[in-house]
Subunit: 332 residues, 2 copies
């Protein structure tokens, strides 16, 4: 009988999660039924949005259940099949991550396209991460080549793709990151200026110096001080696609917002929240564009890899400790 | 020689302005030149947006100068004319308020249309106030008749028009006001539910009770607690046209924003600041629509009138003390 190692959420974290909130559990998988396949997962994704899912409250996505396996993006290979659509050897993406093996009737599986790209890119630039960056810049707002774009968490999974797309669109790009090493990374991606927010005294001043002409677009991944600085430096009619606000995800009690929201009014700003799910129907257009950029070497897929399901929790916690450059992945 | 009584700003207020920040000054007007007219002002407008103009900082509109007359919307009658376009007896609107008389070469004047409406409506429902409400609901966002609309400062100049337009569009309207008397007023305007924010214990709970199905549109006039409550109760894809944030205008030091801005992301909200100036080109369309509503009795022009230039500062201060129901006007 096949087994699967799974990561369960066993208690709801308050503040920064710890290993005590999670438990690795071995389960025995049932025999395959007609139409089913057994998938050995090879890669899984850990993402900041999973932290709010650990809280038991209504949101756009169901909270994780206690004492049950979590889920998230994953890539795997079919190793046993009773479904003609997915013969043994098929490589697939699906949403049953946080486990080493998965039985499916096929309805939740997408075959990886037959392109000469590493598999894990379909959890990164060619997957939801890339789609998020692309949709945020080209569907939520309309980017103009004259725009000055400020990107927070710029060395992160989404941020590093946002920087590159904005440069490809001809924009001036200012990146905020949390270490000098990450600053070098985003410089290598071609951004025009980098701010290490951990070492600058005043984020607004640093942003003003980097963008004396003001910023037109703020790609919001962080919230808090970053949003405040962006509002201070935004030009009239600036646009703020809101992809996430990671700075608040581990706060036990909600922290107050910026004290300068009035600029939304006086500068006539548009602040627009979005969730990548709403752009799934544009996957074909995205894949065509991103596939071309990748094959022409115009976009680089940055990644940080942890090995083994036993390190999945470490990888997840690392997201909030600034451990990742680019997409955080677990190789199973 | 003609004279004019003018209100000067003589010091920049910190916190709530006082009479000491202002001074009434009598000036002697020069002889009219060819092409000029002398206007006796009959009405002037005081508006919340004038408070931020008393601070010396860059914004969408120039700060008021110290020791100089302020300006703002006004209506007057030509009493001496050397300009054929504006013969004696012409009624005009212009932006040289805060004074009893004004000399103009005509370039800043608009003739009042010849309609059977009280003059002062052109500072209220038929003027910038009405245009602000109308543009915010029909141009900044697109209102649907299925929308539940929450309006803060609902008994104010813009708010009272927003309530009525939203009802005319078939929406459910929930109003927030600061007294029981104002609650009665907005009830008379047809809103579905009223919250007196000064007497409820918890604004979010009150809003949830008034809108168990959630709110789709929040017309933002206030900021602070009102924005926080609205974010808590917004439905997915809700829209927040930001017309103003009066709760912060008299704060000496900027106050922190709501602690739940993350809902902008997770609920996929659009928050859009706007300034009425950007909609001036739509004045003809607006006037036609609003004129029809007024003549059919479908919109009421609420007003609070102070008498005499010597009460102009009292009228202005009254805006922040909740003294006005509807548009605050000074009859000169």
């Amino acid at each position: 009988m096949a087994t699967s190692q799974q990561i369960h959420l066993v208690s709801r974290p308050t503040g920064m999660p710890t290993h005590n909130n999670f438990k690795q559990v071995e389960i025995t998988l049932p025999e395959l039924q007609d139409g089913e396949v057994l998938i050995k997962n090879t890669w899984m994704s850990v993402d900041p949005y999973m932290r709010p899912r650990m809280i038991d409250r209504e949101s756009y996505i169901e909270p994780f259940k206690l004492n049950d396996v979590m889920d998230g993006g994953a890539i795997g290979e079919v190793i046993e099949s009773r479904n003609n659509q997915f013969p043994v050897g098929s490589k697939v993406t699906h949403l049953s991550g946080w486990r080493t093996a998965h039985i499916s009737d096929g309805s939740d599986l997408t075959l990886l396209p037959d392109v000469p790209l590493p598999d894990q890119l379909f959890l990164n630039t060619m997957g939801m991460t890339g789609l998020t960056a692309w949709a945020g810049l080209t569907k939520v707002i309309t980017l103009k080549e004259t725009d000055t774009v400020f990107v927070s968490a710029a060395s992160g999974a989404v941020g590093s793709v946002v920087c590159q797309i904005a440069k490809l669109k001809g924009c001036k790009v200012i990146a905020s990151v949390g270490s000098d090493e990450k600053a070098r990374m985003v410089k290598d991606l071609g951004v025009d200026a980098v701010i290490n927010y951990k070492t600058v005294e005043n984020l607004t001043q640093a942003l003003q110096q980097a963008a004396p002409q003001g910023i037109d677009v703020y790609f919001e991944n962080v919230g808090g001080d970053h949003l405040e600085a962006a509002l201070n430096v935004m030009n009239d009619y600036g646009r703020i696609p809101v992809c996430g606000m990671i700075s608040g995800y581990n706060n036990d009690t909600a922290q107050p917002g910026p004290n300068n929201l009035f600029f939304i009014n006086s500068k006539k700003l548009t602040v627009q929240g979005f969730i990548v799910i709403d752009y799934f129907d544009q996957f074909p257009e995205f894949i065509e564009q991103m596939g071309a950029w990748l094959s022409e070497g115009k976009v680089k897929s940055e990644e940080t890899v942890y090995e083994g399901i036993e390190n999945a929790v470490n990888a997840f916690l690392g997201l909030f400790e600034g451990k990742n450059k680019g997409k955080m992945l677990v190789k199973l």
